[in-house]
């Protein structure tokens, strides 16, 4: 209903990648710990989310590279 009838399998792969990445935002494993301090001053919970943002750029590059809606430009 919410997706077109003919969703190509590749698009499901894109949706799966986004869903997994969205779930990775909820990093309960560093919830109560500040240590180790990465580089001596970045609490691990903060460092994780810095890396998460860099990885977001990589995921978005992947989506843009392989799932670009070029048909919209016609």
């Amino acid at each position: 209903m919410w997706l077109p009838d003919n969703v190509p399998p590749m698009r499901w792969l894109g949706i799966l990648i986004v869903a997994v990445f969205y779930a990775l935002h909820q990093d309960f494993w560093f919830w109560k710990s500040a240590r180790p301090l990465v580089f001596g001053f970045l609490p691990i919970g903060l460092f994780y989310h810095v890396v998460y943002m860099l990885a977001s750029a990589a995921v978005l590059w992947f989506l843009v590279r392989f799932f670009w809606p070029s048909h919209l430009d016609k």
């Binding site: 209903m1 919410w2 997706l3 077109p4 986004v18 990445f21 969205y22 935002h25 909820q26 990093d27 309960f28 560093f30 919830w31 109560k32 710990s33 500040a34 240590r35 301090l37 001596g40 001053f41 970045l42 609490p43 919970g45 903060l46 989310h49 810095v50 998460y52 943002m53 860099l54 977001s56 750029a57 995921v59 978005l60 590059w61 989506l63 843009v64 670009w68 809606p69 070029s70 919209l72 430009d73």
Partner: protein
């Protein structure tokens, strides 16, 4: 006085940019040119102006203030979730808005809704709700301008004059430059933000003798150690914050910005680089906000830390008025400013002043969006364009900018800021709750105008209810909860220090889910009112989207 001179130089530069854009556009009197820069923005200006439109005063000042009080959790709550959700929304929804705008000449999201659902007055209702949710930001910006100029000038410029100067400058470059001027100013402001963050961190680190010692000291003290982890926040609360960035694409000024790119491919760099730009601004803001807790050699910061400690230890015994006073004293929105006062040379403090002005002036694109919406969704829709022509339509848009800025200025002088702080706090939730409209319009054939109306009215009612609740139930002391509504023994709605929670979640979660459900249920019930085949073909066929 030097910081004030630098800020005035900055204001002069942005005003000139607007006038320069006006000269560049001479001879082009179409509404599309004025309101959308003729859909001609290049990749760099598109990236920086879209990013700048999303970065409000909150990104620099509010983020560091939140981190000062709540610690590193601020970064995960507001920055990293937005870094994924906002560019993803641009990828999935923004590109489609651009395509539809290019093909059918849409200039606002409401025009697309009216076409998609074959509705007229329901579009006007959506316009009204969007406009009401947007107005508080503009009033807050006037207030921020007045406060910032008063602080930077050491009190020489009073609040009313500071607000008037900032309003006139913003009105000036939006009035003359339209979207082209606004986009160029936003680009200039974004570059200023991006440069400022790294420099501020380096200078303050040097001033504090490095961050390692500061971090170890924070960890050693029981009152500050929790700031470096997320133990004070529940995972559900953390998760609920990921709904907030859905608001971005539903904000009309962001939707309208999506229509300004010259080519679809300009979205590519914007989408990929967006998280990097966010990182460059938010990491310094949050990190410095946390570190400020250790900068008690700065008298203003010491006073904040003491006020917070008093609030925590004696909060329950204090009157609500006394609690509010202490809360205001402990507020950390100016901690970066105070850190720079304490550790940075004058030249950097001056540049900061300009950056702060850039942040509080981010209302430009919102004023222009309101003007575009008014002239397209109301003036043109109800016959003004057909009757008076396009040139008059553009002049009407300019007149709207002048009148609206004056009204916002008068409101800013007469009403207390707390009202607008509250309104902006929940208008993010309101726009997230309007996001299902865009998803349904673009991806679900079965959606109807009545579903859209139900979602819109629900959003308006929910925002209003929370505003009334928070106005009538005062904020309790930190760490305590006031139960407002219980269902079967469970606390359904609670009032906490920072706002309102629904089953422990931010209100944005039930608001957005209910909005989506209403869209589905009401659309199913009113399936007979689906648009005709021709309309659906524009959105769902191979030739369409």
């Amino acid at each position: 006085m030097i910081p004030a001179i630098v800020v005035f130089l900055y204001l002069g530069v942005v005003l000139y940019i607007g006038i320069f854009a006006f000269r560049r556009a001479r001879g082009k009197s179409s509404a599309e040119d004025y309101f959308l820069a003729g859909r001609s923005l290049g990749p760099a200006v598109f990236l920086f102006s879209l990013f700048g439109a999303n970065m409000t005063a909150f990104s620099i000042l509010g983020a560091s203030g939140h981190a000062f009080a709540n610690g590193i959790v601020t970064f995960g709550l507001m920055a990293s979730s937005s870094a994924l959700v906002i560019p993803l929304a641009l990828f999935v929804i923004g590109t489609r808005l651009w395509s539809l705008g290019k093909r059918h000449g849409f200039m606002t999201p409401v025009q697309m809704f009216r076409d998609r659902w074959e509705c007229g007055h329901i579009g006007t209702v959506i316009f009204a709700v969007q406009a009401v949710l947007l107005v508080p930001y503009i009033v807050i910006a006037v207030m921020g301008g007045g406060t910032t100029l008063r602080t930077i000038s050491g009190g020489m410029i009073p609040f009313w004059l500071g607000g008037a100067i900032v309003s006139l400058v913003v009105m000036g470059y939006v009035f003359f430059g339209g979207m082209r001027g606004t986009a160029w100013v936003n680009t200039f402001q974004s570059i200023l933000f991006l440069m400022f963050g790294a420099v501020a961190v380096a200078v303050i680190a040097a001033g504090m003798g490095g961050f390692r010692t500061a971090m170890e000291s924070l960890l050693a003290a029981p009152s500050t150690a929790p700031l470096l982890s997320r133990e004070r926040v529940s995972p559900w609360y953390f998760l609920s914050y990921t709904f907030i960035p859905l608001s971005s694409i539903a904000f009309p000024h962001i939707g309208i910005f999506c229509l300004t790119a010259r080519k679809l491919t300009h979205f590519r760099k914007t989408i990929v680089l967006y998280p990097i730009c966010m990182l460059a601004i938010w990491l310094p803001s949050v990190f410095l906000g946390v570190v400020a807790n250790q900068a008690t050699t700065v008298p203003a910061i010491k006073a904040k830390v003491e006020a917070r400690a008093q609030l925590a230890s004696q909060g329950a015994q204090l009157s609500p008025a006394e609690r509010d006073r202490l809360r205001g004293q402990a507020a950390g929105d100016d901690v970066i400013l105070r850190l720079l006062e304490g550790y940075a040379p004058l030249w950097l403090a001056s540049l900061l002043g300009a950056s702060v002005m850039a942040a509080v002036m981010a209302s430009d694109s919102q004023i222009l969006a309101l003007s575009t919406m008014f002239t397209e969704d109301v003036f043109a829709f109800y016959g003004g364009k057909a009757r008076f022509g396009e040139a008059i339509q553009v002049q009407t848009g300019r007149l709207f900018i002048v009148i609206f800025t004056l009204v916002a200025y008068v409101i800013a002088l007469r009403l207390p800021q707390s009202i607008f702080d509250l309104a902006t706090q929940y208008s993010f939730a309101g726009f997230s709750s309007l996001a299902p409209l865009l998803v349904a319009a673009l991806f679900w054939k079965g959606s109807t105008r009545w579903g859209a109306l139900a979602s819109t009215l629900w959003t308006a009612m929910a925002v209003l209810s929370i505003a009334v609740l928070q106005s009538t139930v005062p904020a309790p002391p930190p760490g305590t909860v006031v139960s407002v509504l219980s269902i079967a023994g469970a606390q359904a709605v609670t009032r906490v220090t920072t706002g309102t929670l629904v089953f422990g979640l931010l209100p944005v979660v039930p608001m957005t889910i209910m909005s989506a459900l209403l869209m589905v249920i009401v659309s199913k019930l009113t399936g007979a009112t689906r648009p005709g085949k021709e309309t659906l073909a524009r959105y769902f066929s191979k030739e369409g989207l």
